[in-house]
């Protein structure tokens, strides 16, 4: 307090220390609320998300759900488009293998996602930016947990800067 009465700035108000604080604040991603596009299969994961809601389980408000008939409907192009339009992360979720409403949709999707996953890693898109998961209709708890994990991971990675389409001003 003595410093105030002497009309001097406290040590953390100097120009240098404020600059340091700004740098720390900007580097700190804890305030960053990522936007995550979630492609959820109608029969399992969407119902799982619904169950999480009905059961009043808390999870971060970071996901934007797009309901698809089957994980087999998810064209890798959708995932890349979401990243282009500014999503910080993408979550793709469908029925567990063997539980597909259309019998083999998620098996076919699985091969496609495997190739996409490896290719994105090759291109230098951070692992965790795009997440694949199997969530059944009865796994509300698991869905909430999954969203928590994915949000935390994307928060660590920071905003999507690589594939986002920025129009030059």
């Amino acid at each position: 307090m003595g410093l105030f009465f002497n009309h001097q700035l406290p040590p953390n108000w100097t120009q240098e220390s404020i600059k340091v604080i700004i740098t720390i604040q900007m580097a700190d991603n804890s305030d960053f609320q990522p936007k995550i596009v979630a492609f959820l299969c109608n029969w399992c994961s969407y119902a799982g998300a619904d169950l999480a809601g009905i059961s009043r389980i808390h999870y971060p408000p970071s996901i934007r759900v797009i309901r698809v008939p089957c994980s087999g409907r998810v064209d890798p192009f959708f995932i890349l488009q979401a990243l282009q339009q500014g999503a910080d992360g993408v979550l793709v979720s469908g029925c567990h293998p063997g539980d597909c409403h259309y019998l083999t949709g998620n098996f076919v999707a699985r091969r496609r996602f495997a190739v996409l996953n490896d290719l994105l890693a090759f291109c230098g898109i951070e692992p965790g930016r795009v997440t694949f998961a199997w969530v059944s209709a009865s796994e509300g708890e698991r869905f909430a947990q999954l969203v928590k994990e994915v949000t935390e991971k994307v928060r660590q990675l920071g905003p999507n800067k690589k594939l986002i389409k920025e129009i030059p001003q």
């Binding site: 699985r110 290719l119 994105l120 890693a121 230098g124 986002i164």
Partner: protein
Amino acid sequence: MSRTELLRKRANELLSQGVVKLVLGYRAGAQDNVAQPFFATTPDQTAELIFDSTCSPNIANYLLKVKNIGRVAVIAKGCDSRSIVVLLQEKQIVRENLYILGVGCEGVVHNGEKSVTCKACQYPNPVIYDEMVDAPVEKTTPGPQVLKADDDFDRLTPDQRWQVLSADVARCIRCYACRQACPNCYCPVCFVDASTPQLLGKTHNISDNMVFHIIRLLHMAGRCVECGACHRACPMGIDLMRFNRRITKIVRERFDTSPGVDINSPPALTRFLPEDSQEFIK
């Protein structure tokens, strides 16, 4: 008799005997280093046919343009024949309408040296043919090769990899020469041309460029035979084979299959096994 002479002789016989309506091969191009595809319809025209190291375009691409005229003879080297297998598997052409004149290939020339794809070629001889013209060439590469450049690239961090690739892809002018050169790219409306709705931006923005190349590769997954026609067609000299080698490697390691080798084994992404690996799925 030289290989070109043997080819001309057989093509002439096939046309004059009426076995085929047309012989699809190469003739000397306007540029010294690239032959052009040639459609010989009369026995006289077969005198123009050639086969040498300048015959770099993938001839299977032109097969799609003459698939409705009846039986066609095609002069196919190793990679061309693998593309033909892929097209047969995908029911784009009919085997009965084909007469494949197989030729062994010692590699084609690109920018004055042996093309990068040919240096590690595993299939210099056709995998499918009705008759071989001349003797098959000796196979030099035993198995899939890992190039040192690819190995070094793998050791980079994700950010470094992104920088290298985006610097390369940033030069893309989106002319789609790679698509035009590829026999696998036969969609009536390509995703880049779709306009209602427009799927991909038309700009050469790095994001659009990268997404174009990633999607092109995903469409090639399990189908690319690594002929290198796209790589040689690129006017900007983008290292497209780096991408193609990777997609082939991913498919080979994940699904243990090489495209265009066995006609009874359909493309990897059109089938599945219940026990496919899924360690990347939560």
